[in-house]
Symmetry: C2
DNA sequence: TCAATAATTAGAATTATTCTAAAAATAGCT
DNA sequence: AGCTATTTTTAGAATAATTCTAATTATTGA
């Protein structure tokens, strides 16, 4: 079992034939399937490494292109942690990210149902939010 | 009047003689004063340009060094918007940032007093938050 | 004053990402 | 099916922000 993904959770490019208005090429399918299979937060480089296992001829530029296309079509989210390279996230529900300083792990942090951003923040007059990024860094004290 | 800062709001490096445990060199003072004077969110390159007006011999590497020192001593905050170059923020109160897509302006968004993060987010068990970054992107509909 | 330490500097190196231009694939006709 | 236009992929070059290096300068404290 490679990359600590179980066989049962593994899936293939053919499992994702389409994303709304995006033409599904073999490469886009492969990139999308990599993200949907592993369900973590890989960088473009990591996606490239994983994609090459199934599709050894794919290029890094294509991975960047595919990721951009997927992001623009809302199939995947791009998240940034400080100055590190962008990571890609298949979780489309509203959520933030907790970055564990000890393990390095990135954990999705769901927004509470019904909670409103305006309860936490004094938003500027007339602000229309298109995009929200919440990033937390810290430790998990597991007693 | 340059850089839309009024004379009265302008200040000099000598106005900031010390930051807690940080040795205040001329360059660090200058960089700090640039941030405190303009109170916006300049990139390292922009800080460099502004600092050169008073101190033409300062180098970009030094600006990076000074900014890093100031950030590490909690005198200034480093904020990141997507993949853009880091910006530096002199506002030490807890706040997020709203990035206006039309004007490009960055607006500080204060956290509401008494509001708790845990009201908005389902934080992981035992999570200890060292750092919180909230970034909003959108438009201001000014009727 | 002098030695030890720390900061500054210019320029080289690094790294993630984007760009370029050519080749390959695909779609939409007829 | 064949042809043309459009899109995508590709390798490698280019870019840009940041960090590193090694030499110089400044500062501290004995």
């Amino acid at each position: 079992m490679k990359n600590n993904i179980t066989e049962s959770s593994k899936c293939n490019a053919e499992d994702f034939p389409s994303v709304d208005g995006l033409r599904m090429t073999r490469q886009r399918s492969e990139v999308y399937s990599v993200l949907m299979s592993y369900r973590d937060h890989p960088t473009a480089g990591e996606v490239f490494e994983r994609a090459k296992e199934n599709m050894p001829t794919i290029s890094l530029a294509t991975v960047y292109n595919c990721l951009e296309a997927l992001v623009q079509h809302g199939a995947v989210r791009q998240v940034n942690f400080e100055r590190e390279s962008s990571r890609y996230c298949p979780n489309l529900t509203e959520h933030g990210h907790f970055h564990d300083e000890e393990s390095g792990k990135i954990i999705d942090v769901p927004l509470k149902k019904g909670a409103k951003l305006s309860d936490l923040l004094d938003l500027p007059e007339g602000a229309e939010i298109d995009n929200l990024e919440i990033t937390l860094r810290g430790k998990i004290s597991n007693n």
